[in-house]
């Protein structure tokens, strides 16, 4: 039984991988690595106004790759996902403004340290907080899994503040600016860069980084030695010939305007839409792709679960009930992390993010679908089954010809509802780094700080797609009655 389950799982993943493959291009001869990065970590990693990834990390990586003759596929995602992808063999290397710590050294092999950074802390511009002592009773915003967060936690007792966690810097800064929290701890250059770009924060220790340490490029411990060696060799070369200094100066020396979108584009909703058209379209396409595959496969899986749920065989019914119980009970994001980050280690095979995303949707939405499909079948009057059986129809025929058609009719509103939920749930998959509509919105906001306008655009796009989906569903429903 266990073996069969594992086998089915692998087949499902292989099938779904075809979906993922369409999205990933592979170069043939040169070694090609999958490198993850933080999707929004300026000045180290962020998108320029043409939606190209840039920043100190990215320029270092690009220059070294060219010199050392390797290619790479860049996977921007949240910082946590970026590091865990490498730890779980989903990716080969990570460059994401990642501090070298002893804890991380246990899991990763780091390349030559490439940037000396430290922790800074900042408050809202005009705030009357003067020193750490003033934080008593206040709330401090920190980014999950960062050294800034670790430091804040280490002094939390001493200074008596509360903490609130964020996954992305922009939301975090806005939390401080909107007075929901009163201070933040983070990497000094990052906060400084944000301030330069107009974020209304004040850095409290610009000259004195706390716990100064180094950023490093990392691979999984004991793996990808070749990639690590190439990075180190290339880094030594660009350090020597001055390219490295030029890159750093370009980001930390230049004025902010160089890197953000032009003023004109930021001042109107239309301008934002125009300037980011291709990014929005790309995000929308991913969302639609996830939704379509999610809806179709989850419906099929749900119908299978529902049919199993009304089986004559108690074991089959039990299996259905258990699967529905488990996957309805798991939060979607936990399931996504489990599949994308947890599972590869067990089955020894990479799962592309889009594949993991679709699998997550299928398991989660499929469980909900299974529950209402079973309910729909059970809602069909018992007499219908008895009449069919009394005529001599076997159970399966009676199900197919009499019960299911009536049950499905009962379920149609639930199906349409589930389709809409599936569409909305795709946004949660931004957590495993899929660049769908929500993640696209985050990235654009991180560049232009136009939270209100960008999120309004994203919201309207979702509403349009949901409206279209509802129309389509209702149209199909009407046709099915005719």
């Amino acid at each position: 039984m266990k073996k069969i389950k594992k086998y089915v799982l692998i087949v499902a993943i292989v099938l779904l991988s075809f979906v993922g493959m369409g999205i990933e291009a592979h170069a043939a001869d040169k070694p090609n690595y999958v490198i993850t990065t933080d999707a929004t970590y300026p000045p180290f990693d962020f998108q320029d106004k043409n939606n190209q990834y840039t920043g100190i990390d990215q320029e270092i990586l690009k220059t070294i790759a060219k010199r050392e003759g390797f290619t790479y596929t860049l996977k921007p995602m949240s910082f946590n996902s970026a590091t865990q992808s490498v730890a779980s063999d989903q990716a080969d290397g990570v460059i994401a403004g990642m501090s070298i710590t002893d804890e991380r050294r246990a899991v990763f092999d780091f390349g030559t340290p490439y940037y000396r950074s430290g922790i800074g802390w900042a408050v809202k511009k005009g705030s009357n907080i003067k020193s750490l002592k003033d934080l008593k009773g206040k709330t401090v915003a920190i980014k999950t899994g960062t050294s800034g967060a670790d430091y804040a936690l280490s002094i939390q007792k001493q200074y008596g503040f509360k903490v609130v966690y964020f996954n992305d810097s922009d939301t975090l800064y806005n939390d401080v600016i909107n007075d929901n929290s009163q201070a933040t701890f983070g990497d000094l250059p990052v906060i400084q860069y944000a301030v330069k770009n107009g974020t209304a924060l004040k850095v409290m220790n610009p000259k004195a980084p706390i716990q100064a340490g180094w950023y490093g490029f990392a691979v999984k411990k004991g793996k990808n030695a070749q990639l690590l060696a190439a990075f180190n060799k290339g880094f030594a070369a660009i350090k020597k010939d001055g390219t490295y200094d030029k890159i750093v100066a370009k980001y930390l020396g230049a004025s902010a305007a160089t890197f953000t979108g032009s003023k004109k584009d930021n001042n109107s909703t239309w301008g934002i839409l125009k300037a980011n058209r291709s990014a929005f379209l790309q995000g929308l396409w991913q969302t639609v792709l996830l939704t379509v595959f999610g809806i179709v496969l989850a419906s099929l899986w749900g119908i299978i679960l529902g049919v199993m749920g009304v089986s004559q065989n108690a074991v089959v019914r039990g299996i259905s009930t258990t699967i529905i119980y488990i996957f309805r009970g798991l939060p979607l994001m936990v399931l996504a992390f489990f599949i994308y980050i947890g599972l590869p280690g067990v089955i020894g095979m990479k799962i592309p993010a889009v594949t993991a995303g679709i699998l997550t949707l299928v398991l989660n939405e499929g469980a909900y679908t299974g529950a209402f499909v079973r309910g729909g079948f059970e809602a069909v009057d018992r007499g219908q089954m008895e009449a069919a059986r009394s005529l001599g129809l076997p159970y399966s025929r009676a199900m197919r010809r009499v019960i299911m058609p009536q049950g499905i009719r009962i379920m149609i509103p639930s199906f349409i509802n589930q389709f809409i939920i599936t569409l909305k749930d795709t946004s949660i998959l931004s957590a495993i780094g899929i660049l769908e509509l929500t993640q696209t919105g985050s990235l654009i906001v991180s560049r232009n700080s136009q939270g209100f306008r960008v999120w309004a655009i994203v919201a309207v796009i979702y509403l349009i797609v949901i409206t279209l989906l509802t129309w389509l569903s209702n149209w199909v429903e009407k046709r099915s009655h005719a």
Partner: protein, 250 residues
């Protein structure tokens, strides 16, 4: 098999059935011969439906023997679906298939089970519709029919499988009084044509008219059985007398 046995269409021997502590059928034995019309009467909860539903295994007996049409259906090895093809059943609540038209309801089983091809099934369905007087309803949805029409369609649907035995569980109980006559007429014609029938009903007049034998059920037991004249005119069992005095003067 002896000659006498081939004429027995339904043979029930020492059947018991309990739902938990509720002993619903107590050691019931009954034989029904070919062409015979047996009407079962008795108070509510006496086990009439349970007994009838056991004859096509919609309920399974706890013990005892049930042989229908020569098939021992209390034997697990018997293909119950095959046996059911020869036993028509008509329910109190009609149970027409809501997802099909009238004609499709009648054609479904013969076509699905490969008994008739589509054309032959349709021909037969139209003939049956004529027999029950509803030829004009062939293509309507079943939800647009009155109760009496539904029940006549349900009878036609059961007959489409050309059964040897027909079971009726209170076929007129859910009908408005003015509809009852049409349904009973169809059943009477069926009885006259020689169909073997077991009917649970509260229509005593109808029972007198068509029954070869009337069986009185009470507390899960057959308390008395005999010709309609014997059962209705000279009841011996005290409970039957009490039952009749109630229903006749109701």
């Amino acid at each position: 098999m002896s000659d006498a046995q081939t004429k027995v269409k339904v043979h029930v021997e020492n059947v018991n059935k309990s739902y938990g502590d509720n002993h619903v059928l107590r050691d019931i034995s009954l034989d029904v011969s070919e062409n015979e019309v047996v009407v079962m009467i008795g108070p509510s909860g006496s086990g009439k439906s349970t007994f009838l539903r056991m004859l096509n295994q919609l309920e399974t007996p706890d013990n005892g023997t049930i042989v229908v049409d020569g098939f021992d259906i209390s034997d697990k090895a018997t293909d119950i679906n095959k046996v059911r093809e020869n036993i028509g059943m008509v329910f109190q609540n009609f149970n027409l298939f809501n997802n099909y038209t009238v004609l499709e309801n009648i054609m479904l089983a013969p076509v699905e089970l490969g008994k008739l091809d589509k054309a032959a099934a349709e021909k037969k369905a139209r003939e049956l519709l004529a027999t029950v007087g509803l030829s004009d309803k062939a293509d309507v949805s079943v939800n647009s029919l009155s109760g009496g029409q539904k029940q006549r369609i349900a009878i036609a649907r059961a007959l489409a499988m050309s059964p040897d035995v027909m079971l009726f569980d209170e076929p007129t109980s859910a009908l408005d009084p003015e509809m009852v006559g049409d349904v009973l007429n169809v059943m009477k014609n069926l009885a006259d044509s020689g169909m073997t029938m077991i009917i649970v009903t509260h229509e005593m007049g109808f029972a007198k008219q068509v029954a070869d034998r009337v069986v009185f059920f009470e507390s899960g037991k057959i308390q008395e059985s005999g010709t309609p004249e014997a059962v209705f005119n000279t009841p011996k069992n005290a409970r039957l007398q009490e039952f009749l005095s109630k229903v006749m003067h109701a």
